[in-house]
Amino acid sequence: MFHSYKMVTGAVAALLVAAGLSTGALGQSLELKIMAPAAPGGGWDQTARAMQAALTESGAVKSAQVVNVPGAGGTVGLAQFVNAKGDGSQLMVNGFVMVGAILTNKAPVTLAQTTPIARLTAENQAIVVPANSPIKNAKDLAEALKADPAKVTWAGGSAGGTDHIMVGLFAKAVGVDPTKINYVPFSGGGEALAAILGGKVTAGVSGYGEFEGQIKAGKLRLIGIAAEKPVPGLDAPTLKDQGIDLAIVNWRSVVAPPGLDEAQTKTLLAAIDKMVKSKQWQETLKAKNWDDAYLSGEAFATFLQNEQVRVAEVLQSIGLVK
């Protein structure tokens, strides 16, 4: 939900690491430019700045610089990025949200034009209801939705974003026409949560982390997380275990410009691999509560392709893309 802050939000911790950049970066001679296609603050910017610190401190590259190109769910940045054809010294942070934004904004460029490098992090998506709701589990929610989709109001992030797509997938999974969902988009971190807590909507969808405190305090009831398998160390039922075939994660990844030769791609893959395995990166993941979802090279390319197909289908079925 935080992506939608138009204003510059919290570059905070990322800037801390950026400010404390170590000078002793040896090893690779790569002088990297990392584009965060968003304003300083949000998730992509934080990822870019965390990468910047980890890449240089682990010695994976000689230097790294973060450039912010905000706008339109990252598509402004993407349009600029694909122009850097054959430039093996650039990376761009992106994520699940961009896949949808490209379609809803009718962007003239697509992620297929870029060279996939690696998926880095992921966040589990969760569905919650207010603590006093009669809905106790995913089955109840599915029944309510089947009974009258209009009466089940969902609060989540921006239209066409991860949360919206997830609700569309939920409807599909339980056999309800996805165009009939009553999804109410909210912008900004707290607004949706406030609406759920105040009982203004039936259910809420967002990253698990955003609900965690409220769930523990007993103000919200967790219906389920949309993970493929139960998450170790997390006392949270998955939707799959409750018989609803829905798995979706909010992932973030990096891609390189189009037209790289094999050597260039290999260099970047190696640098990212070294970064992911560094102590610095692992500590950042822990501090920021990001799940490690490292997947690189061919495997990531296939994953990215599948996600694009899936998102396009969902957006069409909920009527956001024609």
Partner: protein, 500 residues
């Protein structure tokens, strides 16, 4: 509640150590120094300076952090008053009267009433936060889209206070603002409106770009255009540099009223800091004994909105600390900051880490006091800025206006918008159109539309939902009264005049 007082006392005992006071002072200084850069609002200020605090121990960093927060807030108002360049939308209203005062040699009192007003508001609001947070937040959550919509309507009605002498021209300005508010992706449907295929426009028009363009750039062009015919004279200081007895007398009530508006509205999850400043300005304009000064530099018009702005900032801490809800850009950064100290704002925070919460609240008190102590002596220095020869002063203002825009969004499209809004501001000044309603329209239009459609979507299109909540009904009634009352009064007074 007694527990709260005890815990707060303990917080103070830690925060009042000499080294901690020094940290507070450094924090306020840094916050003010970065916050005064135009285009850099409190959110960005806090984000940029937060890393500095991490080098200290948790208590020390928390205190410096509070100092930066208040310093950044105050710094934003300083640019509004001195160079007509609001750093954030909430200090736009301050520029209306504050800059007029500064140009008439009353910059000192304007800055002083802003600093003292911020202090008073911060003090009261922080006390409110300490004592009532858990209760108030329960009420705040009960606000639904219909209630917010009603609140926006009240704000809309009060906009007429910024219209100047012609309702036609005021409305024209407002509607152009509303039109600008349409630009971009519609929040509820994801449809693009008025974007003409320019991807940069999909995110809409940035409020600070419009405000800086209209206020700072527009003003520079206008002053230049009139230089040969009726040159503007800026006096850095006329009369007292400090607030006079009269200034105090005219300021204290607006401070309190501004606080009373800012704190509750700021604590609403979607209340924001702008609406209380609009409401405060209107109320002060209605209640003042010097209506003729409004639009020419009335001190009430600075005192009230500034207090409202600061009180609402303390208000946003309420949902943040008690629920972990970041309800503004600044709050989102504060949240990230807290997490770095191992504080996880939310329902369990007060129970789990009382030491840190009360330490933070005590720090807020101290930072607030430090702000006044540091900034009052600096006022003399600030107003000297106005003594810079006019060509350099305005050239500098334009450089800073452009810089703020580039820093927030380094795209030529944004700069072109700044230039277009600057020309618009010039044309509007030339033909005597008020500019504030346009910014108000841009801020309020999308908010009101979103809440209205959200309310209707939840009620499945039933318009009765808009008045079913008692609160919404009351607010709408207030709006109706505010709209009709002046007409009635005018009728009455005309009637009386006829009798005489």
């Amino acid at each position: 509640m007694l527990d709260s007082v005890f815990a707060l006392a303990q917080g103070f005992s830690v925060a009042l150590e000499p080294t901690k006071l020094l940290f507070a002072l450094i924090g306020v200084f840094l916050g003010t120094a970065v916050g005064v850069l135009p285009g850099i609002g409190p959110a960005l200020t806090v984000a940029l300076l937060l890393p500095v605090t991490f080098k200290l121990d948790p208590t020390g960093s928390l205190i410096m952090f509070a100092g930066i927060y208040y310093g950044g807030m105050y710094g934003g108002s300083t640019t509004s008053i001195l160079i007509n360049t609001p750093g954030e939308s909430a200090s736009m209203i301050t520029a209306l009267e504050g800059n007029k005062m500064a140009k008439a040699g009353r910059g000192g009192p304007a800055l002083a009433t802003s600093a003292v007003g911020s202090f008073v508001a911060g003090l009261i609001a922080t006390i409110g936060l300490a004592l009532f947070a858990p209760w108030l937040v329960e009420i705040a959550i009960q606000f639904g889209p219909a209630d917010y919509f009603a609140l926006m309507i009240v704000a809309f009605v009060t906009v007429s206070a910024t219209f100047g002498d012609s309702p036609l021209r005021g409305l024209t300005s407002l509607f152009i603002g509303l039109m600008l508010g349409l630009v971009g992706i519609d929040a509820l449907s994801g449809q693009a409106r008025l974007t003409f295929g320019v991807p940069e426009l999909l995110d809409g028009v940035e409020v600070t770009t419009l405000a800086v363009g209209l206020f700072a750039v527009g003003e520079a062009l206008f002053v230049a255009s009139r230089m040969k015919h009726a040159p503007e004279t800026i006096e850095p200081v006329r009369g007292s540099l400090w607030m006079t007895r009269e200034d105090w007398k005219r300021s204290w009530k607006p401070w309190l009223r501004g606080t009373a508006l800012g704190f509750p509205i700021g604590s609403l999850p979607a209340g924001g800091a702008e609406i209380p400043t609009f409401l405060s300005y209107t109320i002060e304009k209605r209640l003042t004994k010097h209506p003729e000064e409004f639009g020419k530099g009335a001190i009430e018009g600075v005192a009230g909105p500034e207090a409202a702005n600061n009180a609402s900032a303390a208000g946003t801490l309420m949902p943040l600390l008690t629920l972990g809800l970041p309800t503004s850009a600044t709050a989102a950064i504060l949240l990230a900051g807290f997490q770095q100290y191992g504080l996880n704002p939310g329902p369990l925070l007060f129970a789990e880490r009382p030491d840190l919460v009360w330490g933070l609240i005590a720090s807020l008190f101290i930072a607030n006091a430090m702000l006044v102590i540091l900034n009052l002596p600096l006022i003399g220095l600030w107003v000297r800025l106005l003594a810079i020869p006019q060509p350099w002063l305005y050239a500098g203002i334009l450089v800073f206006a452009a810089m703020g825009t580039i820093a927030a969004n380094p795209s030529p499209v944004e700069l072109v918008m700044l230039a277009v809004f600057g020309l618009l501001g010039f044309v509007m000044r030339r033909y005597d159109y008020p500019i504030a309603p346009m910014v108000v329209g841009l801020i309020l239009g999308p908010m009101a539309e979103t809440q209205l459609r959200r309310a209707l979507q939840i009620s499945l299109g039933d318009p009765m939902a808009l008045i079913e909540s008692p609160l919404a009904a009351t607010l709408l009634a207030i709006a109706a009264l505010a709209l009709v009352a002046p007409l009635l009064f005018r009728g009455l007074s005309r009637f009386k005049a006829d009798e005489d």
